[in-house]
Symmetry: C2
Subunit: 372 residues, 2 copies
Amino acid sequence: MYVKGVGMTKFGFENRPTWDMAYEASLEALNGSAINDIDAVVVSTVDTLVSDERQRHYPSLVSSLFKRKIPMIQIPAVCGGGGAAFWTANKLGYDNVLVLGVDKIAVNTPPIITNEIMNATDKVWEQNEGMIFPCSVALIAQQHMLRYGTTTDDLDLVAFKNHENAFLNEKTPFYRKKITLEQIKKSPVVASPFRLYDCTLNVNGAAACVLTKDKTDVEVAGSGLNVDYMGPFEREDMTKLIACEMAAKEAYKKAGIGAEDIDVMEVHDAFTILELISYEDLGFCKKGEGAKLIRDGTTKIDGKLPVNPSGGLKARGHPISATGMAQIYEIVRQLRGECGDRQVSRHKYGLAQNIGGPGGSVIVNIFKKVGG
Amino acid sequence: MYVKGVGMTKFGFENRPTWDMAYEASLEALNGSAINDIDAVVVSTVDTLVSDERQRHYPSLVSSLFKRKIPMIQIPAVCGGGGAAFWTANKLGYDNVLVLGVDKIAVNTPPIITNEIMNATDKVWEQNEGMIFPCSVALIAQQHMLRYGTTTDDLDLVAFKNHENAFLNEKTPFYRKKITLEQIKKSPVVASPFRLYDCTLNVNGAAACVLTKDKTDVEVAGSGLNVDYMGPFEREDMTKLIACEMAAKEAYKKAGIGAEDIDVMEVHDAFTILELISYEDLGFCKKGEGAKLIRDGTTKIDGKLPVNPSGGLKARGHPISATGMAQIYEIVRQLRGECGDRQVSRHKYGLAQNIGGPGGSVIVNIFKKVGG
């Protein structure tokens, strides 16, 4: 399959109905193709009960929105929903599919959001112990630091790099807003070792694309999805996301390439440690050596392997199911050379990696610029 | 694709965790194949917030449950979730897929359940007006009665037939419990014209099957899914479910047959009128003439076209996402001649029709007995 148009709203705190954001992102993605050319829709949203929308039947809502009666399904996978929807759409066999991720989470007070996000973790062993989501991932970070010598300075560098990138991205809440390394280092502790700037920002937003069998300039070279047990505590090795390794293996195999061929990528840095672990599990360095790539500047926008040129979840913000599609939006535009100030120099192969829960679902999609 | 094993828990009010029910139904379906032979899982559940499970990442929970790391996705479609999961699994291209529907709704007080089910309808035009789900479908019934002369006596006959069938089904809450026509006629009004016995019963349960590329004795002959606008009030004709007509057309086309070839079917009689409308929209009679088939006994278990031999949603109960898979469980067992006292006599082609919302998603799956 190939990617035709892509679309994305600004990510932020604006209180718009999800259908309004879904409409905007979809229309931008449909630019060049008409809604009448679409054969099916795959939408990802975490039923929008966290807001006041009370809407559990999103495919039918999309039908009302576009006044279209075609096959439509919904694929939620908590924070990995966008990627999972794309992976599924790529397999359905339709000629033209609209894939859409949308969520609205930044409308309530932090305790309500924190409570909602806890539902992505194990009820008995995590939630009942009061382990909010940042704590669950903090345990992973602690293990990684203990075993491999990763430091909070390394985590700070991830946050700093991604805020530098978001400074150049007009769709983020940090556009033209400088965040200094000192601000990052002095920010309040959320769940040790994470400070405020180690954590993503929950925002509202939507992103979409049109997947097509017509040959365009961007091909879906490979796509993999895998799941793993709910709790990091259940896993053989807490510092490794096995689902990521498996999904990547599948995607590389289908694409007929290896990690060394990737020119640019967006990874799921909901917490800074996840970016470093993703360098490892996606095959860009040995286990435990992720920090090297941030220390030596490899993953900066002008480095050898730019990672999260959009600013990532860290600094672009994370509207749950829209995130996976926003990553794809960025990668496709990077491959097309449309990213202006933050355009990376080499852009033949791009990779988008989306994570649901603390590694329970991982989706890896690889894109290839065809010709040009 | 073909169907290997099928599995189903008893439907009822037992307060078991969803994972426990999911495990039981899955193991029964896996009978004859090992979990190690499964390449992917498609699970349908409405995030189980209606109960106290607080679990938004069900694929990962299934991974923990079976200790398996393979591709798994979740497909909710409110009451049509089971059918939608099956439709999707049939398209994914894996050799062996476990399809699972599970929900737990009968654990709270009726106001909480009623409030939850309202989320399957339009927020602005229906929920805000206090239109609970039975009211939404009652409007459809009123229109059908007004336009086509369908009567409450006809609706009573649907309830009576399906309770007679459930009397023979050991998995239903009405097993060996007689419900008389008089009880039905004297039951309290819920939303006119619906009395208590016109409405399905919300229960807990799970149902599953293994879809395979290996040739078995039951083939998936055709499968169709379509969506329509959220509210009946938005539609050109409230008495017709266009999504049903479209999904059926697709399924018949793929199967290379017509309605006249179907020997037995399970339809989504969440409210009695929906069974009559389904006779029409699935092509078994002209628009408006559905009542004839219940009056003349055509759809009784010993009639020419037995409908809902399991007891249907009406009398088998309706555990939301498990319903679509329970319909498939019944049809596959009918085709295999395994249904004992309620076994239908002719069983080459069977059809299962599952509806999400008041017609917003409709899924039609057709099964064919191969050989024998």
